[in-house]
Symmetry: C2
């Protein structure tokens, strides 16, 4: 039996590890549902702390999944929105969300 | 903005946490590609320890995603195969695997 570890598999583990981190899935879902400001993310994700929300947004930005835009108004405004890869990831997570919904209804 | 936390969301976080655990994705993939005996899982998943493979199989069995069958031959043989929910989860993970492949090729 050949190894499942062809060249793509380590990345799949990395992807699962990233989306498996507590709250990351919720932050991505909130972004997919239109959250842009920090306060909107916080309002849409019950129970997340400011510290963890800020950390997850930084991680997702570093991973190229969320884009951070600074609007030089007074006061300065900051927006966090899905980068193209982030949008594609949110779409790729839909079947997994449907699987967990089906499972929770049985 | 309403909360993303309708009644399904906690389960989605649980699902992501489950598949995000180190090696769980690989064990599911190996099962999806035909691994049945402990040794076949170990051969297909480079780098996993016996201890962790055994733990992941137990977790997946407890979660109803893998079925453990004891064949009362001499010596006894044990098989681990995807339960229906496990097969559906492996299918639901395909878009995520494709997303990580596309990302690693850019």
């Amino acid at each position: 039996m050949d190894s499942i570890h062809d060249d793509t598999c380590p990345r799949f583990e990395d992807t699962l590890e990233l989306v498996g981190r507590r709250w990351t899935g919720s932050v991505l879902q909130a972004a997919g549902r239109g959250a842009r400001r920090f306060g909107e993310y916080r309002a849409m994700i019950d129970g997340i702390s400011d510290r963890l929300l800020s950390q997850r947004l930084k991680e997702l930005e570093a991973a190229g999944l969320i884009e951070r835009t600074v609007i030089p108004s007074t006061p300065v405004q900051i927006r966090y929105q899905l980068a193209p890869d982030g949008r594609a990831l949110v779409d790729a997570l839909v079947p997994l969300a449907q699987w967990s919904m089906r499972r929770s209804s049985t």
